[in-house]
Amino acid sequence: MSAFNAIGDEREIDRDEFTPGLEPQPTWCPGCGDFGVLKALKQALPEVGKTPEEVLTVTGIGCSGKLNSYLDTYGFHTIHGRSLPVARAAKLANDGLEVIAAGGDGDGYGIGGNHFMHTARENHDMTYIVFNNEVFGLTKGQTSPTSPKGHKSKTTPHGNAKSPIRPLSLALTSGATYIARTAAVNPNQAKEIIKEAIDHDGFAHIDFLTQCPTWNKDAKQYVPYVDVQESEDYDFDVNSREEAQEMMFETENALHEGTVLTGRYFVDERPSYQDEKKELGEMPEEPLAERYFEDDYDWERSYDLLERHK
């Protein structure tokens, strides 16, 4: 018998279950792209058969980090840049959980960049949504790792001397096995991509373009957007690392030239970290968290380890 009966619960799921009944109401600015992520998630989760209490959303700090304040699941609003290490450990502790990490572009590609690289490399079975608004929203509009070259803000009065980071390419070289870009202005695509990411066994990275009308671009500047799978102008194989790499490079360049390209870029079937660890005998088949509720588990004792010290 499981101690976590929300996990694998097969009941009907109501569309509104992920919306908190009362407070808190979102405090994002009107027109903020973050609403788009919230809405897409609320739609995607019931469609993939997840109930609020089998989902753990782990966020960083930023406007984006408030996501789980407004999404009714188990939530962990951590510290700036650290959502991924918290999230992946929760998955190792109880791999029945549906773990979704989320945060801003500063949070994920800047201060937490090292964790991004390593979580992708290890291919933890989870979804990571980066709210990419190309700016530090919460701290009032400073230049972020995805801000374009020349971007002016209070901390870069003469314009940004740095070229932006390439989030998709970085995910690819680091080892992510599902990589997509979507946009708040395209809720239907966003929902579908989130569903695919959740269903994917491995590290699924979604670079989610979220407009920040207060400090950066508004929604209008993300339209028209192009879905690379649907457009006849683009033809590449998402299972091919080489072709994906080329397409990502083009997509990252295009954004700063005013063309918003979105879609799936890379899908790979490499085994997840959890599977690799189980294969090596370094992780139990049964979720570890269950063991503490098993009445008859025979806990190992140090007393039985003393032989080699005698």
């Binding site: 101690a3 976590f4 009966n5 929300a6 619960d9 908190p20 009944g21 009362l22 407070e23 808190p24 609020p52 209490e53 782990v58 700090i61 408030k66 789980n68 304040s69 009714d72 699941t73 188990y74 939530g75 962990f76 609003h77 951590t78 510290i79 650290r82 991924l84 290490p85 918290v86 999230a87 992946r88 450990a89 929760a90 190792l92 502790a93 109880n94 029945g96 959980l97 090292n114 964790h115 690289m117 390593h118 660890k277 005998g281 370094e282 139990p284 570890l288 968290a289 063991r291 503490y292 509720f293 806990w299 190992e300 004792r301 140090s302 007393y303 380890l305 003393l306 010290h309 005698k310």
Partner: protein
């Protein structure tokens, strides 16, 4: 402590197998019925560099290293750098001999490998002359050739052990047994041959001029030879800890390695991750999801853990962290012990500290307090730090095997089951009240992700009972006060059980010595010696750093005329903590400080005491400092 003791020092190059040789020799002494205590001195280098291990053995309890030593086995340093003229590191080849003469007691015994140490190098040391002056007994022997003859050159350690046993009139039985346990067939045979051959040569061809012989002892109980790192690992395992995340750093690596070896066999998970920020964050994540988890590091790595540590405080996530100190600041002296991270460990991370800190003083205490740390962390939903150092981490001593024969304690503490959650307080939207204002002991039971009816938001922001972010002043005060109440409850809980402080000496003594953490053993021995010399002195080794055992310490200080605080740092951090927590007694407290990278020796504490408390005696050695009392 008895007069008849052996302090055997085996010296060589780092990478020459000194560790395993000494480990086996210590076990052989232990099996023969003696109490043993080891001390390791090593450079921050993998191959080469002078290193030694000291084994103190006597029939009665030994709880620290001694003053100096009385038997040297000087092997060579096979990875010594070729000295250029005037290289600052000098002639490394001869260091296993030359560097160890200073501490050798009068009448001491020296075996050195004349196969590896060149005649000219030895001649330069004026060894014969110094031996004459100090009454040392020299037994040069070509260990290298002997090893080569029967096997390989690296087996010269075994030849040295055989020679040692012969000079000490020690039976080879236990040594042989241990070699059989530890060595693969292929190298076992030649090693046994070498052992016996060396023993025979020394017994038959050397004329013994020394008196030292191996002491005789007897244990009532079966013994195990364990380090502080072993003990912490065992304490964690017996507490049901099945998750560790870390990043290597000396000396914390010892526990991390041990846990990583044991956990997979127990269906646990060990994670070596990208940095210490991640390591602590992973431990938080695993614990949040319902697994007993730990992480840790040494100074620099622990600094990186500051923010996740604060997150655990604010989200009330149970967590055990280790802070395995080494000499700082910065990279400092990686392989040298110091107790200078106390203030850092107590206060690092923003906001008012809300954590529990233990500083065990012995191997047994390390085990006991690790269990307590897990109990407190999970019962009170609070991060608990065990602060120790390179000394406790690496010292080995014998412990009764029966000490570990007890029930495991895997309980998750104040965590709810789904049945309990059904009846718990929820708000109108169904969120569970994870952080209620009113619990008297501050502890509001938690749910775990995946449980029915338990969803809530954990956040590093200040939050309402359901976990919503809030800056409301009333809620703020209620939550801060509740989290602080946990510390009061923990203090009361600790006061109820057996004390974690260790007291030695006569209750009615006039003078006191106060120490903390791993300096305890040395102080215990110093007190025994002072008492034997007719001084009226007692001591306390303090382990509870936060919440502080105020009443106990006030009582101790009240009961003496004056007290000397002994610790391994330059700014008297523990004395500062005492004065801060007690708010008085400044004029009663002096300090004895050492921070040269080597732990105190009992004689230094004795000398410091005589000078400090009684105003008599000689100045302590140049590298120990006295810090006079300062009024409040």
């Amino acid at each position: 402590m008895s007069d008849n003791e052996l302090i055997w020092r085996v010296a060589g190059g780092s990478g020459d197998g000194i560790d395993s040789t000494s480990q086996n020799f210590a076990k052989a002494l232990m099996r023969s019925g003696l109490d043993v205590f080891t001390h390791r001195h090593y450079p921050s280098r993998i191959r080469g560099g002078h290193t030694y291990v000291e084994i103190r053995a006597a029939a009665e309890e030994v709880q620290s290293r001694g003053d100096g030593y009385n038997f040297l086995l000087a092997l060579g340093d096979s990875f010594a750098r070729n000295p250029q003229e005037e290289a600052y590191y000098g002639n490394e080849e001869v260091k296993p001999l030359s560097e160890n003469l200073e501490d050798l007691r009068e009448g001491g015994v020296i075996i050195y490998d004349e196969g590896l140490l060149s005649e000219e190098d030895v001649a330069e040391l004026d060894l014969e002359e110094r031996a004459e002056e100090n009454g040392w007994h020299l037994y040069p022997m070509d260990l290298r050739s002997l090893a080569r003859e029967h096997g390989r050159e690296v087996m010269r350690n075994t030849a040295g052990v055989g020679a040692t046993a012969a000079l000490l009139d020690m039976d080879l039985e236990h040594i042989e047994d241990l070699m059989e346990d530890a060595m693969p067939e292929k190298i076992l045979e030649p090693n046994i041959e070498i052992l016996h051959e060396a023993h025979e040569i020394v017994s038959e061809e050397y004329e013994f001029t020394h008196d030292l012989r191996v002491p005789e002892g007897d244990h009532d109980d079966e013994q195990a030879l364990l380090s502080g790192s072993n003990a912490i690992t065992f304490g964690a395992i017996d507490s049901g800890c099945r998750f560790i995340a870390g990043y290597p750093m000396t000396p914390w690596t010892d526990v991390f390695t041990l846990m990583s070896q044991h956990l997979p066999e127990m269906g646990g998970v060990s994670e070596q991750v990208e940095d210490e920020i991640a390591a602590a964050a992973l431990a938080v994540g695993a614990s949040h999801a319902g697994v007993k988890a730990m992480s840790g590091s040494s100074g620099g790595g622990f600094a990186l853990m500051s923010e996740p540590l604060g997150l655990a405080e604010m989200t009330e996530t149970p967590l055990v962290l280790l802070e395995s100190m080494r000499a700082g600041p910065s990279t400092g002296m990686p392989t040298k012990p110091e107790q200078a991270d106390l203030e850092f460990t107590l206060y690092t991370s923003q906001g008012d500290s809300n954590r529990v800190v233990f500083a065990p003083g012995t191997v047994e205490e390390a085990y006991e307090q690790t269990r307590t740390a897990f109990y407190i962390a999970y019962e009170y939903q609070i991060p608990t730090v065990i602060i120790y150092d390179q000394k406790l981490s690496g010292e080995n001593t014998n412990v009764d095997v029966s000490f570990f024969d007890r029930e495991p304690a895997p309980d998750l503490g104040s965590t709810m089951t789904e049945e309990e959650l059904e009846d718990a307080v929820h708000d109108a939207s169904g969120k569970f009240h994870r952080f209620q204002h009113d619990p008297e002991n501050g502890v509001s039971p938690r749910s775990l992700p995946g449980q029915q009816d338990g969803r809530y938001l954990a956040t590093g922001n200040e939050h309402t009972p359901a976990g919503h972010i809030s800056e409301d002043p009333d809620n703020r005060v209620a939550q801060v006060n509740r989290r602080l109440r946990k510390l009061e409850a923990i203090r009361a809980d600790l006061d109820e059980g057996d004390t974690h402080q260790t007291y030695v000496g006569d209750d009615d003594a006039d003078y006191g010595i106060i120490t903390w953490g791993s300096s305890q053993g040395v102080v215990e021995e110093a007190v025994a010696r002072l008492e034997a010399d007719g001084h009226s002195v007692k001591a306390v080794g303090v382990s509870e750093m936060m919440p502080f055992p105020e009443a106990e310490l006030a009582e101790f200080i009240e009961s003496v005329e004056e007290a000397m605080v002994v610790e391994m740092n330059a700014s008297a951090q523990f004395r500062g903590l005492l004065q801060k927590e007690l708010g008085r007694y400044g004029e009663k407290l002096t300090s004895l400080l050492k921070y040269n990278g080597n732990p105190f020796e009992p004689a230094e504490v004795v000398e410091g005491y005589e000078l400090n408390v009684e105003g008599s005696g000689t100045d302590p050695s140049a590298q120990v400092r006295l810090e006079p009392a300062a009024g409040d």
